[in-house]
């Protein structure tokens, strides 16, 4: 039997293959933007060479700006990869239960996404340190900023940062689960229809399922969130200590993620065939 650990590791390696390509393109792209920006700004190569130290802060800025787009690109890429693996006979032939297969695939997708974000932070950190030590103007403006900045490291601030980060990650996970759900449910319905699968029917089914999901979540939000979960949180005294509803929202998203996750496992195990 294949172990969960080896399958998870293999999924991660497969998905992380292109992490470095994405990161290199992002870094080189940011460098190109800053070089051309400086060249156009100065107009002459000699002037540009004199102001080469400005390159690093510009590079850092470009890298951070491109990072927003690259994280979104990478998220789309990784979700597509996730679905391809779910559908692949090569992968599905591994001697492991469907439940473990699906869990390993979904979690490794999420882990790879977090890994890409961490690598982005590391590269940005390296560029920041390099800029700080090599560019005097940047260093002095940083120092000025630090002097003016009064960091407020209260517990509530740290909790808020933690909660908002968690919420963003949970929402990303939810999107990936929802795409899998769309895929699995449309395939399950398709196999029961009296006609063979076609692109048009699959698209119609997708639209139909999206409408059903929207309706379902509106209903569930009213019943479950307002009444059941609210009462439960009050009962357990889990209301946030600070004046913010984020932990409450996070608990809701976790519960919704778990429900969709369980439904996906069921659909995957019983209906979703590999090709």
């Amino acid at each position: 039997m294949t172990s969960f650990k080896s399958l998870f590791g293999r999924f991660f390696v497969e998905k992380a293959k292109n992490v470095y390509s994405f990161l290199i393109i992002q870094t080189v792209g940011a460098l190109a933007f800053s070089v051309f920006g400086l060249l156009i700004g100065t107009g002459k190569i000699s002037e540009f060479l004199n102001s080469y130290t400005e390159l690093l802060p510009d590079w850092l800025m470009g890298f951070c700006l491109l990072g927003v787009f690259f994280v979104i690109f990478f998220f789309i890429y990784i979700i597509v990869k996730n679905e391809k693996i779910n559908h692949s006979q090569t992968w599905r032939l591994t001697a492991i239960s469907d439940e473990k297969f699906y869990i390993a695939n979904s979690l490794s997708t999420f882990a790879t996404f977090v890994y890409f974000i961490i690598l982005n932070i590391i590269v940005a950190g390296i560029l920041l340190i390099a800029s700080f030590f090599m560019d005097k103007a940047f260093r002095s403006s940083c120092e000025r900023m630090f002097k003016q900045f009064r960091p407020n490291f209260e517990l509530n601030t740290i909790r808020f940062i933690f909660d908002i980060t968690l919420l963003i990650l949970l929402c990303c996970f939810f999107i990936s689960l929802l795409i899998s759900f769309l895929n699995f449910s449309s395939k399950a319905i398709m196999d029961y229809l009296p006609i063979a699968s076609s692109g048009l029917i699959v698209k119609i089914l997708h639209i139909f399922i999206v409408i059903i999901i929207a309706w379902f979540f509106t209903k569930v939000e009213k019943i479950f969130v307002d009444q059941v979960l609210g009462s439960l949180l009050n009962f357990l005294n889990l209301n946030p200590a600070y004046n913010n509803s984020l932990p409450y929202v996070n608990v809701i998203v976790v519960v919704v993620n778990l429900i969709v996750f369980v439904i996906n496992i069921f659909l995957f195990k019983h209906f979703f065939e590999a090709k």
């Binding site: 399958l7 090569t90 001697a95 195990k269 090709k275």
Partner: protein, 235 residues
Amino acid sequence: MGNPLEITDLVYKKNQKKIITDLNLTLKPGKIVALLGENGAGKTTLMRIISGVAKNYRGTVKVASFAKEADRKAHLSFTDGLTGFANSTKINDIVKFYQILYHDFSLKQFEQLRKFMNLDSDMRLSEMSKGMKEKLVIALTFSRKTDLYLLDEPFSGIDAMARKKIIKSIILWKQEKSTILVSDHFVNEIAAVLDEVVIIKNKTVCMHKSTEAIRADNQSVEEFYESFYQREEDE
């Protein structure tokens, strides 16, 4: 270990159509069995059900006495089209994949088979012809030490000379008690190594006979297969 394959009352439907109905089949250890039938008879579907890839069927499928899909997958080796790999993947990387995910994969056996098939381990999938890919698939399939080998039309793209060489050698690659279920259109070429023939018709197994019994009737496997269809048409 029980029988390498036991199928009882198997029914499989798709799009409201029955693809397989009331199929029963038992294979004994150490046999090489041909799975024959027309195009669309359900040979590939049957193999996909046995290997746990096809879902939502009724009936019982046991591989080496194991009914759970994960256990079945652990006890069989199925010729896979390698569609899960990018075209830029090298043979070496595919071997690594097999080594990590299949504990019964033997690198030594694969190296022997790779040399036999004249495959360069640095080759990428994109550089390989259809026949070469099929040779690689056969090499990977037989590098696992399992109770049951499922070969779904494994020789269709391989040239005649290599095909004959591979078919002759199949018997050497499998373990003594392992069973091979092979579906192929080259009945004449695989006939020499076969122990049994299974014919799928009308969505079920309609004939399961040993090649010994066929030859006792002074028929070759190919003649038997052809006459079987002829009889059906006459009736």
